[in-house]
Subunit: 257 residues, 2 copies
Amino acid sequence: MAVHQPSSTEPASDAAGPATPAFSPLYQQIKGLILQSLQAGEWKPGEAIPSEMDLAARFRVSQGTVRKAIDELAAENLVVRRQGKGTFVATHAEQHVRYRFLKLVPDSGDEGPAQRTILECRRGRASAEIARALALRTSDPVVQVRRVLSFGGVPTILEDIWLPGNAFKGLTAEQLASHQGPTYVLFEVEFGVRMVRAEEKIRAVAADAQHARLLAVDAGAPLLSVERLSHTYNDVPMELRRGLYRTDTHHYRNDLS
Amino acid sequence: MAVHQPSSTEPASDAAGPATPAFSPLYQQIKGLILQSLQAGEWKPGEAIPSEMDLAARFRVSQGTVRKAIDELAAENLVVRRQGKGTFVATHAEQHVRYRFLKLVPDSGDEGPAQRTILECRRGRASAEIARALALRTSDPVVQVRRVLSFGGVPTILEDIWLPGNAFKGLTAEQLASHQGPTYVLFEVEFGVRMVRAEEKIRAVAADAQHARLLAVDAGAPLLSVERLSHTYNDVPMELRRGLYRTDTHHYRNDLS
DNA sequence: CAGTGGTCTAGACCACCAA
DNA sequence: TGGTGGTCTAGACCACTGC
């Protein structure tokens, strides 16, 4: 339900506490409520959420207020609007947004999907470093994956992936090797985990002997090191990924605005 | 003035031509008109544009329509809204958005502004490659700048910058060395050129002898190569920048969403 | 206090889609 | 044809700023 706040000045509650009245407009509250339903899985990825009219009725608010809430969710890619059809929970499976998190593109031309080679997929305990990144406790269960992505037979990306073990019970190398489309779709479909946002730290590094072998380059060759921390709803970290990219035939593309 | 389009179906103009009726909503047209005024320099960077009411009156449209147009301009960082004060033409000089295009951050801690060393600033003719990138004709005048940015005395960024000579008449090494704040502010203030959007292509490369000397690293050391094409209004390319970044103490930070 | 942007509402109509 | 999101309007009120 919409929380109607006292208008204008707060009642003079001079008790100690944060001085910020934390005013938030109605549409932000509605956005928060819709977000809760998204997190709770009330509507699954790809499904339609209720129409604006329905939501307006549910929250006892005008359609325009719901619209503004959904506008923001759409701007954050949590939801996709389709005129005449409805509003849908966003997915990494959509055609034109696929590989939204993969910014490595070929220098020229197009290319098919990557060939995946899973080198490792094992359960273990979180090191202090991994635990810190994923907001776990040291020695909590984690899944670690190592894989190589090749384009046209050329190994191009070597990735180490760490996932919280509890959320990804039963993840197998088989699944990782054989599924279609982005791995994040697998995560959505099989584990109900939707990655919403990520931060990347990018560096140039020299290939060590092992990396060189796996990526078929000379030892010491420059590689792009991409450390990505992905989050689900509410900024909960759910994946740490360390990638090494060959940039002799591809480049990392970024748009600034 | 707002262009009122024929409602519903087009009159059956079966003459040859693009089949798309190119319907665009009123607020998009208003946005376009405001954009024109921005390009034309009717309001300078940092200045306030007319109030929503004024613009609504000027364009014979409701305030809500103007608001939606400005909303989009604000979302594209072309304009900044300040409640109670007005709407202002965006600038690279704003405190919290300074160095908006510089994504290289120190691994830990903060750091002061960069020390700039201008190695070169000369006028010349565009090579075929530069001409293509900047949408000039080969041998059109260009300004080329080479500089090193250092943090705490450590040379960290080596940049080559190409600018269209006609738009940047009179740019000197003096100016580039002595101005305060981001170089893009200098461009706005001295040349009326506002960079609005940019694309970057990022690679890992090995330092050659010259680069190694200028950045105080060993030859062959891995460096981040960042090629940036910056645009003014209307996607007109106005700057090509090739940077080499040391990433031993800094990293390139990117947010995906 | 007046002026600005920000929120909220209610209603009309349009464009798109599916059945 | 009915339902969905998309546009446009008009008016009321709120929050913030500066005089």
